[in-house]
């Protein structure tokens, strides 16, 4: 059995970056404050010392420059891993991501196949208000040409990040910052990868399928536990991979349970939950016993003082589950 260590998500991510830089001399890390300081969340800590300031470097404060430069490095054959300090600050780079990074392979007829991984902390739960809390996954999922991943714990974080780094496609790697230090778990010391298109069934159940990802995965699990107290047997799926997402596993589950509740932090309208509902009902229509239900953030900017109302928690999920079960 592989040697394991107990790590939080930051340490797990750091370990993935370290292993990758060791194995792949073309790997480079760049971003605001990622070099000397090791990142505001310390995910890149120690890397500059180990791999030098040419391979791990601070950039000026400009996300468009970071992504554009990373893409240029990728065109030349390097494998850049860029950090966007918060997902909320990715928008200055949106043109570079949507118009360039996502389309480069396609529009060049695969003459150029840049490998770029963009890491960014996302999500609420740290009292960050409008701009340190958002979950922009739907925007990336809707952009053809990007893989989108979001781990829910240290083990998943390392395995997914190594998978992303080793893979051939541009990746948006969303890190639920609420979980950065919240969970410790056993993580293999060495190299391992998780598949980039598979969900994890966290809990098997017969009565309803509950789908979540990122920081909502632990909340969903807790909701399932509460539901168990009420006598319901809930299947919980942690998506992990948002694009492509593991529709097969979802459909398989809903074929069994006949009921679906999806959870995310982002605002409801046109959020990823809509896609999950639409895609699952296409395949499992005949088996559905209640309308698939969404538990999400509201269609408002992310609040500050009242964020606990905004963010779906176990009880709110439970309530939606029960309404769906009693439909």
């Amino acid at each position: 059995m592989a040697e394991v260590e107990t790590l939080n998500m930051i340490q797990a991510l750091n370990s993935a970056l370290d292993l990758f830089m060791e194995r792949e001399e073309r790997a480079y890390v760049l971003g605001e404050d990622v070099g000397f300081f090791g990142g505001v969340f310390r995910v890149t800590e120690g890397l500059q010392k180990k791999y030098g300031a040419r391979r791990v470097f601070d950039t000026p404060l400009a996300e468009a420059g970071i992504v554009g430069m990373a893409l240029g490095m990728g065109l030349a054959g390097l494998v850049p891993v860029a950090e966007i300090q918060f997902a909320d600050f990715v928008y200055p780079a949106f043109d570079q991501i949507v118009s360039e990074l996502a389309k480069y392979r396609y529009r060049s007829g695969a003459q150029y196949t840049p490998r770029v991984v963009l890491r960014m902390p996302c999500g609420g739960g740290i009292r960050g208000g409008h701009y340190h809390s958002q979950s922009p996954e739907a925007l990336f999922i809707h952009t053809p040409g990007l893989r989108v991943l979001m781990p829910s714990g240290p083990f998943e974080a390392k395995g997914l990040l190594l998978g992303a780094l080793a893979g051939p496609d541009p990746v948006i790697f969303l890190e639920p910052k609420k979980l950065y230090r919240a969970i410790k778990a056993e993580v293999p010391k060495g190299w391992y990868t998780l598949p980039l298109d598979k969900a994890a069934v966290l809990r098997h159940g017969q009565d309803a399928t509950l789908v979540a990802y990122g920081a909502m995965a632990p909340a969903a699990l807790e909701a399932a536990r509460l539901a168990e107290e009420e006598g319901y047997d809930i299947e919980v799926i942690d998506l992990l991979c948002l694009m492509p997402f593991d529709l097969k596993t979802l459909v398989h589950s809903v074929e069994k349970t006949g009921r679906l509740v999806v959870v995310h932090e982002a605002p409801r309208t046109c959020g990823f939950g809509a896609e999950l509902v639409a895609a699952v009902q296409e395949k499992a229509f005949a088996r559905l016993e209640a309308p698939p239900r969404r538990v999400t953030g509201f269609d408002t900017p992310f609040p500050y003082t009242l964020e606990d109302h905004y963010l779906p928690g176990p009880e709110r999920i439970l309530h939606a589950l029960i309404e769906t079960l009693e439909y």
Partner: protein, 375 residues
């Protein structure tokens, strides 16, 4: 576009200044500004304490840079809009924004004009000429240009001032804002607080330019670099830029050289990326210390006055905190208001669904308690 030959510094080390610059600020104004800087610094200190005690979610000090904000604000008329980045509480203070409103914003309570929706220090006080602060750096810069264009159209006579940090000058919005401002010759002043750092990133890693003021030529406007730790030099440059803007001659870029004496924010620890020696070196030329030398040199100030002021400031802050902490959080409904003028059907339905959940939760809690009581 005639670039004036303004001095980088005016205050001498011993607090004196060349006689011809003395009239830049009369004694009363000078004392008032000095007192406000003293207050600002004390406020910073107390907010940091509050945050460490867990009574405030977040804070960012402007310690070390106060002359820049307060001096600049002093040079404007009260209704000239100021587009803040985030580290400029001195501007609010100088304009006498109701301190309770400032505290209420920091706490995010029911009395916060912005309904507790943003993190501390993301102020908005329309009545005092302060549009809304947001976290993404640099976004305010084109707003200032647009506002200034409108002010000219509406013949309000206003001049806009927009602050930014030297790190922020690397963002694309800096470029588009200044280029637009130059093209439209708007009455707008862009003031860079070059405090040496963007979080951990030193200015040398931010740009290879010799100065940021040098960028002004690329936008067809004058660029002035001044000693931001020297109130008189700052006021001298601002006055020139304000007069120019007021006269319809267009925008100016000012780069004020100063130092961020504290951490970037309450989430930061600067000892990880800069030396104590460096911080100590800058402390010697701290803007407040230099200004105190100057007021003392003018014979306007002594230790007794200083102690009186500190005591007065502490009393003010203490009362403020006590007041703001006794207000509840904003009401739940505030969560769903102001996205649009009227909430749309989608949001109203979400609200309804959430209220249904809260009612269910209350029933559930009541049930649990009843059960516990029976059991």
């Amino acid at each position: 576009m005639s670039e004036p030959n303004l001095p980088f510094s005016i205050l001498n080390e011993d607090g004196s200044c060349p006689e011809r610059y003395r009239a830049l600020l009369n004694d009363a104004d000078l004392l008032a500004i000095h007192d406000m800087i003293l207050f600002s610094r004390h406020f910073d200190r107390r907010m940091m304490m509050l945050q460490r005690q867990g009574r405030l979610g977040f804070y960012m000090t402007s310690t070390g840079e106060e002359s820049t904000m307060i001096g600049a604000t002093f040079c404007l008329k009260p209704d000239d809009p100021i587009f803040l980045s985030y580290r400029e509480i001195g501007c609010l203070l100088w304009r006498k924004v109701d301190l309770r409103l400032i505290m209420n914003q920091l706490i995010g309570n029911s009395r916060d004009l912005c309904k507790g929706r943003q993190m501390p220090i993301h102020f908005c006080f329309r009545e005092w000429g302060f549009p809304s602060v947001s976290s993404p750096v640099g976004t305010q810069l084109p707003h200032a240009c647009g506002y200034a264009y409108a002010a000219r159209e509406l013949a309000t006579g206003q001049v806009c001032l927009a602050f930014l940090g030297e790190g922020t000058a690397s963002e694309g919005d800096f470029h588009t804002a200044l280029n637009f401002a130059g093209v439209f010759r708007v009455p707008c002043i862009y003031l860079i607080r070059n405090n040496g750092y963007a979080i951990s990133t030193p200015e040398a890693a931010q740009t290879a330019a010799k100065s940021l003021a040098a960028r002004a030529a690329g936008y067809g406007m004058p660029g002035l670099q001044v000693d931001g730790n020297d109130l008189l030099a700052l006021v001298n440059a601002m006055r020139w830029a304000v007069a120019r803007a007021r006269d319809g001659e267009g925008p100016t870029l000012i780069e004020a050289m100063t130092y961020r004496m504290g951490a970037h924010s309450t989430a930061d620890d600067p000892s990880a990326y800069r030396s104590e020696e460096e911080t100590a070196r800058w402390a010697k030329v701290d803007n407040l210390a230099r200004l105190e030398h100057h007021v003392r040199w003018r014979g306007l100030y002594d230790e007794a006055r200083k102690q009186e002021a500190l005591a007065r400031h502490e009393e003010t802050v203490r009362a403020l905190i006590a007041d703001s902490e006794c207000w509840p959080p904003p009401p739940l409904d505030s969560l769903f208001e102001d996205v649009f003028e009227h909430a749309n059907a989608h949001l109203l339905e979400q609200r309804e669904e959430y209220l249904r959940f809260l009612a269910w939760k209350a029933r559930r809690r009541a049930g649990e308690m009843a059960e516990a009581a029976r059991g």
